[in-house]
Symmetry: C2
């Protein structure tokens, strides 16, 4: 069981001192293994902290009144999970492990202490929240104002980018531990339509999938389909507090 919290997302935001690194590495409590399908917490529960994802895939979903489910984000190693719920008395989303996963709990008090003692890390947390906002804005643009195939293209490309950073892509091919129903919940479309869209993309030679492995066959075509270019955070580290 991998027990180290990957820091690449923070490193993208600025230069981490050794001290920062060790502080961030020690943030979580003892890492816990969760098995595939297991719920880490449910929407509406009182959760008094956040979770760091060390390894595996975890979905963040919300149940809607019409019985549908929105999958708001697929979490990958290095992600902080459940952060928005810090401003709520009860959690806004449900975290479900999609694979075997390893997570570490960080109680509120730890974050609070971090805020008091580490302005530099706090600033990084603030910036990473802005990155999440941008990702949500892009998802909103890509799903709400677009056709199923275009938003699927965008989803696949953004996963490709995130997984590449993690070294989880070989030959534009990666494991996508998600059912077609879940894919639909990510894009706001039906299972049936998800299926048809996937087959159509395969027919056009854009992708190939066998089991839960997806291969992107034509990156330029997928990028041309997608309504939005992928964002690369570019951030001037000078801008960070020195502390």
């Amino acid at each position: 069981m991998p027990t180290k919290y990957p820091l690449h997302l923070f490193k993208a935001l600025g230069v981490l001192s050794l001290d920062d690194e060790s502080k961030l590495s020690q943030l979580g409590e003892k890492p816990v293994a969760v098995s595939s399908g297991e719920v880490i917490y449910s929407e509406g529960e009182e959760v008094d902290g956040i979770y760091l994802l060390m390894d595996g895939w975890v979905s963040s979903s919300v149940l809607l009144r019409n019985g549908l489910r929105l999958i708001q984000k697929l979490h990958l190693p290095g992600d902080m999970m459940g952060v928005p719920s810090l401003v709520l008395p009860r959690s806004a989303d449900t975290l479900t492990a999609l694979t075997e996963a390893t997570v570490a709990y960080v109680p509120r008090a730890t974050i609070s202490a971090l805020f008091e003692s580490r302005p530099r890390i706090t600033a990084m947390l603030f910036m990473s929240a802005q990155l999440e906002r941008l990702a949500l804005m892009d998802t909103l643009a890509s799903t709400g104002h677009s056709t199923a195939m275009k938003s699927m293209a965008h989803l696949f490309l953004s996963l490709h980018l995130r997984l590449t950073t993690l070294g989880m892509v070989q030959n534009d091919s990666f494991r996508l531990p998600v059912t077609q129903e879940m894919l639909g919940d990510l894009l706001g479309i039906t299972t049936v339509h998800t299926n048809r869209t996937l087959r159509e993309m395969a027919r056009q030679g854009l992708i190939a999938f066998e089991g839960r492995t997806l291969q992107l066959l034509d990156l330029p075509a997928l990028e041309a389909l997608s309504l939005l270019p992928l964002r690369k955070p570019e951030f001037n580290p000078e801008w960070m507090p020195k502390g």
Copy 2:
């Protein structure tokens, strides 16, 4: 021209000391009046700071490759605008004044200094970023996984709530300085369909509109339509750094 930056959003997050209040009030540079229709900055520009909205309405929009426009948020007095673009070399969105408005610019350096000197305010900024994430998640759920009328209901209710806080609602009626085209860009639907949906809602006695004034005639029915209950941030101020 109102020159004070409304602090209600921060007050909802915790107890502001007098010192905090004065610090936040002095954050922006000299307030500037912008006229209706004026662009504060455009997507792709280099913007080295954020804007505080003191008075008026401002939209934050993004242009898509298919020529469509996503209006990501309607900003109201008290909002900080352009914050996500802090992590990008060029702004992600376009800010356009929808009415006469008053804004104050806050250069990056000021925010940076704030981060170093004021852990408590920094923590509040972090929390308010989480609130924005929740709002985006709700919009995503409401637009992507729903029908036009349901997401319209949610939009109207959330505006009703925000405007009530600002004292801009009388008798469930408020000014909505937005064309039907813009409404469509907010929900991801066509102008034509926006129009038909509005008329249908009026026919059903849910709303009434004349000119750009909207009245919500049946709040319970609108709430029943909406896929999501409105969120009320409830946050324990004890949780904030004392500093």
